[in-house]
Amino acid sequence: MITVNTREQAYQAGMTVRDLLDRNQFTFRHIIVRVNGEYVPEEQYDKAPVRDGDDVLVLHLMAGG
């Protein structure tokens, strides 16, 4: 299992940050990703691994019009 924004989700072997974003349909561009507290730059989403037990935060930065 992993947690995404404090909610539990199933872990999938070999998954990357990009896979996680796709699975959750997190399509908003203006986000901050942290895996176990470590910031992941956007250019690393395709390669950055998500491992079983990881705590992932995907903060959507939008506070309205």
């Binding site: 909610r7 997190f26 908003f28 561009r29 901050i32 903060l59 930065l61 309205g64 019009g65």
Partner: protein
Amino acid sequence: MRQILKEYTYTPATIQRGYSGKSLYLNVSDLRMEEKVVTEFMKEKFIGGKGFDLWYLWQAVTPETRWDSPENEIVMSVGPLGGITQYSGTGKTLVCAISPMTGIPIDSNAGGYFGPLLKFSGWDALELQGKTEKELVIFIDGNKGLIQFCDAEGLPEDSHLLAEELTRNYAESEEDQVNVSVVSSGSAARNILYGMLNFSFYDPRRKVVRFKQAARGGLGTIMLDKGIKALVVRYKGIKGNTNNPADVATLNRIGVKYHKEMHDLDEKQNGMRKIGTANTILVMNQYDLLPTRNFQTGGDPAAVNISPKVFIEQYLTQGIHDGCWYGCTMSCAKTADHFRLLTGPYAGACVTVDGPEYECVAGLGSNLGIFDPRAILEENFYCDTYGVDLISFATTVAFIMECYQRGQISREQMGGLDLAFGNSDAVLELLHQMARGEGFGPIAGLGIRRLKKLFAEQFGSDPALLQDIGMENKGLEYSEYCHKESLAQQGGFALTNKGPQHDEAWLIFMDMVNNQIPTFEDKAYALYYYPMFRTWFGLCGLCKLPWNDIVPADNYKTETPAKVPEHVQNYVDIFNAVTGKSIDKEELILQSERVYQFQRVFNIRMGKGLREHDYAPYRSLGPVSSEEYLSRQELYDRQLREKQGLDPAAMSLDEKIATTRAYREQQFELLMDAVYKRRGWTENGVPKPEHLREIGMDLPMLLEVIEPHL
């Protein structure tokens, strides 16, 4: 030139540290003009902008005042930071009055040049009181120190023609048109209750008059009811230091830093310079937040037809600076130029359409089941020139369409209009009926609260269903987000001072997606901090968008990225640099809270502002109909299991809907309790005297109002 009925001269005050120190009172009943002194008390407790508006409005009205009472005032003020040119979004005028929609103070803000030009003409605020049969144009010349009440006879009705003619008339040359700003409404505002105000600015690149709107709450209806056809201000001589700031070097430094961020990051972040706030249409659709068919669902596959790409590639002029005040590099006030109208009195004309903004595309588009960008732009144009608040219009029409869909009203009862979801021809005809004062137009112009009563009493509609699906709170229509899966945003709309407008708090991502505020206390904190922080923009004459629609590249490193701490510090520094004061970010919140609590007590003074007035329609909280439940059955069934420990497989659909409703309504009650506590209010929503004392707002006039409610 127009016939002058009365003329006054004055000596324009010099602006010092953001304030002229004077305000202008005009009474149209007897064409009277008075100068008032802006006191240190006002600056300390109310700052400016909406604060000054509410302060003057309180003096002008009584608890018996109604929107069309002569003593009701329209008050405008730009605030101490208004008109600086070093930072983005610094030309906002705040407008307040007792609203025809709600019976309590409405506050609405607009870009355009009027507010800054008014201040540079020597006036920190403008009060308009009285009523006249003979319609007027009021002209203020800030260079000559001249105020004229003029006959409005023979002028066009609709804003795009009216403002163009007045701009040309009052400018001293073609080049001088940039120094003129007009406030006007349009023909529909005479026949509906949610008429709005257009604030103009002349665009020398396109050579057209353009508009931003103080749209909410019926301000245009009030202005025309007073007999004021238009306000015109002219001031020539704007410079970077016209506010005479205490520390212009700091202003320049912060401005340069911000403009660099805008230049480097906008394209990577929100693309405000290409399409403005409508950049979020597909985002809202993908996250189930785009209101569709009266907020029944949060998206539709057809939304791709009204995507930013479509507007950018087919309609919106690109590559031109589009700020609605000098110095704004966010430049989000986009236009569709050379747009040929197909309907109405101006069919065949090529016009410039200001917009569309997000609220327009969502409101006049998806929420009406319309996914035709051309139709949306035509609706956008006519709402603007007719003086119609497009949010109230859109949400009201969405309600009518659902009533029709569910057999609560008939086509005959709508005067033959086929207001079915998706029928843009019928929507445009309804707008034209509003402008002509004919048919179903004026009825739809009453707004949802009055329509619920009318439909039930005259058409035999089911009042309980109308209550559930009529998206209004306090009498004001909701703005355009499908927010039923965010408890915090349910409060962000309903637990507001003026009614459900998103300018107090937009917490949906923080709550629903990021899960950053899971507890009631967390949500209550967010519903304290964000409304207070965002109120401050309205005190100072600022636009909210530059705060967080672009953020510093290293914002991710901060502990509270949602607050955008560096930009908060920018605002603290700018305020100090203009006014010479020395506030910090905590004092900034206190400045706002004093005015926020004042407005809450003002509502109580007007017979509202209590817990009973804060309840939301159930459509805001959860699925009303079986179709809504079934559209997200997996989610709702999971919530029954996880949040209530129930087995949805053992329940009928009706039972599931009823159980979900009982749970969600209870959650909303608990949210109200937590928010009231955090805001220092009693369980009935009344600010406590000790809390007012703590924040330095225990004014006897406020204590007198709340005392009977304690």
